[in-house]
Symmetry: C2
Subunit: 203 residues, 2 copies
DNA sequence: ATATCCATGTAATGCGTTACATGATTTG
DNA sequence: CAAATCATGTAACGCATTACATGGATAT
């Protein structure tokens, strides 16, 4: 049910077509909340039905229109309410940890491969998150720029700060994952002897 | 689809009834992979149908039986295969970060309340995870004890080490969450002035 | 004109959640 | 004998995923 709040949050910056929203979910917001097109379009229509957003038909080319959605007063209220309500923390479902717990059933080489992938994955993610954080802090990112234009200058600092703070959480988490992966590789070396994948120099 | 592998992993320690499995998901395994009864019983039957596990009827009281499941050779093969295959990392869907990114829409007091809950939640979890890690390292936990009995002594070290390592990942992650929450509270103080909830001593 | 973007979906399936439901057995 | 535990589900619903599908508009 958070998809709808992600959409509402997006729409507080500027009106968007479904396609615009899909684009956002491919980039910025998508780093925090993933959603495919097939979920976004129907959700927007449902939200319009409930009065949280309003669609207006905009000319697009000579023979066509597109729907541009804006958030309504009720939409803002719903977003606020959601932000102020306590989140029910979802029970854990952690594939990486589950797999690691049973590494004795995989070969050491495949356990290593697993951890290397873990490290690579989070290294890449951390890179992205750091870039996003920078783009937010410098107000370069188009969607943050549009947002700042819409709100008075005294709000800018906090708008930026909270978004950067969110990314800092992702970065910290990612770095913890990388650390964990490295300790895992060391652990495997201790338990099973060092990897045979690399030759000993000087032997 | 990981539920079935969690079940297979459990069954490598000892045969279990559905109810036993449900119990495990309420405790040990449940800290890593959550599943409700309503998912476990049907999944066990499906797995039996696919030959990954075998159910045998065991007397239970004078007029009743229960089904005790054991892992089959094919089940072990399936578990190994899953452990050795690369995990497709699921796209992110992070409610805490999403909410934090839009804290300017909540009041400062409700943003603080949010972060306090975040800190409390992870503090509690970290406590549990640390206890579990200890219980594993000392081989006190009943399910780890049963497991160790079944495998030769030279396997014990790695069986324990990998499970402890998994919990260490959770602990590290939890601690990063707590840290993040604290920095968030500081950030709110900076942006909005300190909380009015507490009086200034000496004023 | 052709490729790439812009725009918008439907359909099938599966995993997971919540709520509801029942009865036997052991333990105190 | 009453309470707690053991045992095993069904049913309805909703969110999410994957695959499939189409056509107009703009840029080169």
């Amino acid at each position: 049910m958070s998809l709808r709040y992600a959409l509402l949050a997006l729409l507080t910056a500027e009106p968007l077509t479904g396609y615009d929203a899909v684009k956002r979910f491919g980039g910025s917001v998508g780093y925090v909340w993933h959603a495919p097109d097939s979920q976004i379009y129907p959700e927007l229509r449902r939200m319009e039905g409930e009065g949280l957003i309003e669609g207006e038909q905009v000319r697009w080319g000579p023979n066509s229109t597109k729907t541009r959605y804006s958030i309504t007063g009720e939409g803002v209220r719903a977003l606020r309410e959601w932000l102020e309500a306590p989140i029910p923390y979802a029970p854990l479902r952690d594939v990486s940890r589950m797999r690691a717990a049973y590494f004795e059933w995989a070969g050491p080489e495949s356990a290593r491969e697993n951890l290397r992938r873990h490290i690579d994955y989070y290294t890449e993610q951390v890179g992205r998150w750091k870039d996003m954080r920078q783009a937010i802090l410098s107000a370069e990112h188009p969607s943050i720029a549009a947002r700042l234009e819409k709100y008075p200058a005294e709000e800018h600092e906090r708008i930026i700060a909270y978004k950067a703070f969110a990314y800092e959480g992702l970065i910290a988490r990612g770095e913890a994952e990388i650390e964990w992966g490295r300790r895992g590789l060391d652990l495997i070396d201790e338990l099973e002897g060092p990897s045979q994948a690399r030759g000993e120099p000087g032997s």
